[in-house]
Amino acid sequence: MLKKWMLAATLVTGLSGPAFAETVNLLMEGVPDTEYVKTLLPEFKQATGIDVNLEVVNYAEMHTKLVPQLVAPTGSYSAIVVDFYWVGEFTKAGWLQPLDERIKADNFDTSVYVPKMIDLVGRVDGTTYMLPFYNYAMGLLYRKDLLADEKNKADFKAKYGFDLDVPKTWDEYLKQVEFFTKDGINGVVNQGLRPDPIAMEWSNYLFANGGEYHDDNWKPTLNTEAGVKAVEQYATNVNKFGPVGSASFSFDEAFNVMAQGKAYSYITYNFFRAGIDDASKSAVVGKVEIMPVPGTEAGKGGSLNGAWGWAIPKSSPNPDAAWTFLKWVESPEIAKKRALQGGSPTRSDVFDDPDVNAKYPYAKALKEMLLTSHNFPVFTYTPQLVEVLGRELSLAVAGEKKAPDALAAIEAEMSELAKKDGKLK
């Protein structure tokens, strides 16, 4: 009797719930861009009458929290954010709803997104599953005050025979790393921790040397001249020009070294550009600028792209309300408001917005970074590839494996994963 009564009560509340108080449940990572969304939520409630329940966790917990909800027929999250890492896995497993029909029905303009963003966290094999949320392409943080120093300029010119300035090519940058390793300062600080810190950072080295992960047929192209140079340069930077222990640094520890003024440069995610001007965390406020990772020649970038996308899981209890939220949060006004708070744009119109550029002069550099960036291989086994990269690169940095051997090992495992995923025939 009691059971029946309770069942009835559940049904009633469950059915009548949406009628008067719709709620969109979101799981997001605790990062600045999430905070910016949070501040704007009252506007959404005002505009649509829909409540948003935001669950914020740290990165390490996200995947483990998401998967059970995605596997279930009806999960608890209306909409989710997806790291580009997981795109292959989530779409392959069929956990995300295609958005094309909704986009078409509402005439939502996706052409304003930087194409690289759509490739990374938007469309997969022609189907749109996500709207790009924010990008975290990697860039080169460098000390402009050290570059401007007259004595440095003179010494550098005398030693290398060309002018000390913002590096135009990767080789120029490497010379600067060597040059600035002096006076208790390191030329560079690296994030050598397994697996993603080292894998992500090293990707920049690969691209900067003109390398790529694979060719059009997903055949790995790592054990090449560019790949070997990238590994050797990375190991040299960590062991010779970096601070003690950077082989075990995660990005926060590496950032601290940079923020304490102990390093000339640091290749890292774009959102640290705002952090370096935060006087509570940084001793070098106003002395650091960001730029795209230079490539083999001027104009070619070596940055690694990265981004999060909004998606509606198949298990979403209320996909319509979730879409309403996605439309709103990615609308030009809200996207601009997020960018004005410091958010990292994915849309060209926001990048080019005069207000945004006036407030953040480096917005231009961020856009260039994104435009010249390279994407990481996105397929079902991306996280596993990162794991393999982390292990082998770490071994190479520790001097326990030669660069070609490490790269050969990565290629072998990557081929296997790509075959398993049907990418490599």
Partner: protein
């Protein structure tokens, strides 16, 4: 019959929370079960086991774990017993010492890992700063393949040694006092009465303490996850972290279950052996 009836609720609960997951894992371990295709459609017999056993990375993590476990258990036992013996003779402020010692034990391993990562930062951490005051060069605690595992051993000792102390201290306080007095009159020095009386009387407690600590040490995962992620290179890649990656990065639950089953077998074997060995001593 009545006994079965009375204990059935707790037996049922035990079955639900312990036996069921174990059986589920064993069942999973003979299927091609991945998170991408979470179903038991493909029975693949011992494939997962063969794959795991043939995987040099898995074997490396097993060897490394054996070394790590031996190091932490032996060092923590030696240190813990020493401290327990010292505390045993202390009469005043015992509870204060207890409280201080228990602090690390009560801390979440994640917090422990984070704190020590901060302390051990090679250039900004307090440990290297203190060492520099006495003229010691900065130590590359977590970034060197030669040092990193020992750093983890050290942090684990800091975190877990109290466990040994508390258990051994409890054992010590439960020992009868009279044999010690008899031994004093019989002419035993402190060292000899430790060797001839304390140690033999403590064997059961020591055995249990070592066993529990050993099992927990095999499961060390959080520290690795927070502090080294198995690096640098593969210097700290302990088996639990490897199994975690197999399950949640490679999404291969079947193979991860097979590895867990192998690990379980090893631990069970070790437990049985230790149990018998300790019994033969008493």
């Amino acid at each position: 019959m009545f006994g079965w009836l009375i204990s059935s609720p707790s037996l049922g609960l035990l079955f639900l929370v312990i036996l069921f997951p174990v059986f589920w894992a064993l069942f999973t371990s003979v299927h091609d079960y991945t998170l991408i295709a979470p179903n038991f459609d493909t029975f693949n017999g011992l494939d997962n086991y063969m794959k795991a056993a043939g995987d040099p990375e898995f074997r490396h993590t097993l060897r490394l774990t054996a070394f790590f476990v031996a190091a932490v258990v032996i060092l923590e036992f030696a240190l813990g017993f020493l401290i327990a013996l010292m505390l045993h003779t202390v009469e005043r402020f015992k509870s204060v010492y207890y409280a201080i010692l228990l602090c690390p034990l009560l801390m979440n391993p994640v917090i422990v890992g984070l704190i020590w990562r901060m302390f051990l930062h090679p250039s900004l951490g307090i440990v290297n700063y203190l060492l520099s005051l006495v003229g010691i060069e900065p130590v590359n605690w977590l970034g060197s393949t030669k040092v990193a595992l020992w750093t983890l051993v050290m942090v684990d000792i800091w975190h877990q040694v109290s466990f040994m102390i508390v258990l051994l201290l409890a054992g010590l306080s439960a020992l009868p006092r009279e044999p010690y007095e008899a031994a004093r009159v019989d002419g035993a020095s402190i060292f000899r009465s430790f060797w001839h009386i304390t140690l033999p009387l403590m064997w059961p407690v020591i055995a249990v303490t070592l066993l529990i600590r050993l099992i927990f040490a095999v499961k060390t995962y959080d520290l690795i996850y927070i502090m080294t992620r198995g690096g640098p290179g593969v210097a700290t890649d302990l088996v639990s972290y490897f199994i975690y990656r197999t399950a949640f990065v490679s999404l291969n639950i079947g193979e991860a279950s097979a590895m867990s089953a192998i690990l379980l077998a090893v631990i069970l074997g070790l437990t049985a052996w230790l149990h018998r060995y300790m019994r033969s001593l008493t």
